[in-house]
Amino acid sequence: MSLEISEITKSYGRFPALNGVSLFAEDGEFLALLGPSGSGKTTLLRVIAGLETPEGGTVRYRGEDLLAQPVRERGIGFVFQHYALFRHMSAANNIAFGMRCKPRATRPSNKAIKAKVEELLALVQLEGLGGRYPSQLSGGQRQRVALARALAIEPKILLLDEPFGALDAKVRRELRRWLRVLHEQTGLTTIFVTHDQEEALELADRVALLKDGALEQVGTPEELYHEPESAFVFDFLGDSIKLPCVIEGGIAVIAGSGVPIVGPHPESGPATAYARPDAFTVTVGEGPGQPARVRNVLLAGPDARIECAVEGDGSIEVRVTHEEAAKLSPRDLVSLAPRAVRVWV
């Protein structure tokens, strides 16, 4: 095990940010810390880097106690959410900064530093832009300079705080793929923080989902998506539709019709059924499942979506094929039946 975090606690005044979080990362692993804002994911990242001091717990790297070392001796690369580039230095000087900070005995020569800067600029695809100042670079370029700067110290671990948070959607997707490739090239143990489940599921080898300063579930993206251990995990990892149900003999009864249950569940009693928007069978008119009235048919995108009003003032948006959607128009009566559900009380 490369990095081992155990029982970390940290609070800001009376507000607990981390409640005994334990987590590990294998050598070369790409780990995502996912969670809503205020879940403690950034705090955990800053604890690993040494930018925050926890009240309790340990952080070990290959057996050595990281918490006993000051930030500057840890050798952990950190990419800040807003990059925190040195605004009065050119991109090249930003990247060279960490190498120039080394003690004289281990500091590379000026020539070696220059060569390394060029190499890193090439790695992050910014050849020829070393002379630019941060204010003369685009968001995506700044991000890559920040990454090159962190890589320049040849860190044991690379930490990224919301690496794509400040970028627009298209650049974000490009950089995401590029980062994955870069990770494969460098093989560096990497932990990144994100609140975007899509990002975490697409990039990471394993995802740690945090909620209120505690780990909710850790696993591969597939495990988290297909075997969520709590309603929170199910809800956080994708669009979810909640329907009240009653469990009878191992089957969820929703609006009078039975639906098979996936995953652990109580034998009987009232509960809430959870399903993804693409797991519904839509019948026009009376049929099995929840009666609803079509409010809007949305045809843009690879899947069509229909927005339906259900009893009370609820609204459900389910995904259907374009062929199905073509048969529907607003004000039609439909019946929505999930093919299978998960239940939590």
Binding site: A49, G50, L51, P70, V71, R72, E73, R74, G75, I76, G77, F78, F80, H82, A84, L85, F86, R87, H88, F97, G98, C101, K102, Y133, P134, S135, R149, A150, A152, I153
Partner: protein, 285 residues
């Protein structure tokens, strides 16, 4: 201004109103600012340049000039160091009593300088709290250069800190944190990251602090004792000469102070023009 032209009909005010408003503004500026400034130089040169120059060469005036420069040379560096330290502490760290410290820094701004001077007399004067003890050890503060330096330092204390705090607050501590993760120690971080980021604000602060240190009257008047040629700074020298009906000399010395102020302003403006790009670059987010 987005798109709207100043001269578009919708925005054109009645000519009379325009004339009146501009007239009021210009008259105000002339009466309050330009006329007094002009008067200073006019009165100083009234009897010709020769009288002016000889008034400047009075030993007392030269002594006052030297004292003023000496006081500024001590007070400004002290407050620069203090200002940087205070702004650094307040903006890069969280600690108990932080807001109290910020308020404390502002006190010299809100209290009349005369009070500041008086406090020193009450503390260090012959009948003050520490008076007997200082007397025993043969130390005199009130009516000496030491007292003047202390009073000036107190009055000019907020200038550098006040200039730095808002800027450093806006910049946050991310760059310093980044430097730390890259292996930089505290001194390297300060000299290579923090200082370059605040250099312009720092320069402004130092300029303003210098201008005020040289021009301070109230606090210095209380602690100085007005000993000619010994504890009279330039502003006090103006007062002394004026009270002696030596108007030409008084205005000559005053013109010197006015010139200091103008030079300060000119340097500030020049810096802004010269480094406009760099200043703008500092504000990127």
């Amino acid at each position: 201004m987005s798109g709207g032209k100043v001269n578009s009909p919708a925005r054109r005010d009645p000519p009379l109103l325009v004339a009146v408003l501009i007239g009021v503004a210009v008259t105000y500026l002339i009466l309050v600012l330009l006329l007094p400034l002009f008067t200073v130089f006019f009165e100083a040169l009234r009897r010709g340049t020769e009288t002016y120059l000889s008034a400047m060469q009075e030993p007392d005036t030269i002594a006052a000039m030297q004292l003023t420069l000496l006081v500024a040379a001590i007070a400004v560096p002290l407050n620069t160091v203090f200002g940087i330290a205070a702004a650094w502490a307040v903006t890069k760290f969280e600690f108990w009593g932080k807001n109290a410290l910020i308020t404390l820094i502002d006190i010299p701004f809100s209290v009349s300088p005369v009070i500041s001077g008086l406090v020193y007399v009450l503390l260090y004067g012959a009948n003050g709290w520490f008076g007997p003890w200082l007397d025993e050890h043969n130390i005199q503060i009130i009516f000496t250069v030491t007292g003047i330096v202390m009073a000036t330092t107190l009055v000019t204390l907020p200038f550098v800190a006040r200039e730095l705090i808002p800027l450093m607050q806006e910049q946050g501590a991310d760059e310093e944190s980044a430097a730390a993760t890259l292996g930089a120690g505290a001194w390297r971080t300060f000299f290579f990251i923090t200082l370059p980021n605040i250099k312009w604000a720092l320069m402004y602060g130092v300029l303003l602090c210098t201008a005020r240190a040289m021009g301070e009257f109230g606090a210095v008047a209380v602690v100085s004792g007005l000993i000619r040629g010994e504890t009279a700074t330039l502003p006090l020298q103006v007062e002394i000469l004026y009270n002696e009906y030596n108007f030409v000399a008084a205005f000559a010395v005053a013109s010197l102070l006015a010139m200091f102020a103008l030079v300060t302003l000119a340097v500030k403006t020049l810096l802004e023009v010269q480094f406009a790009d760099e200043l703008a670059a500092q504000r990127w987010r």
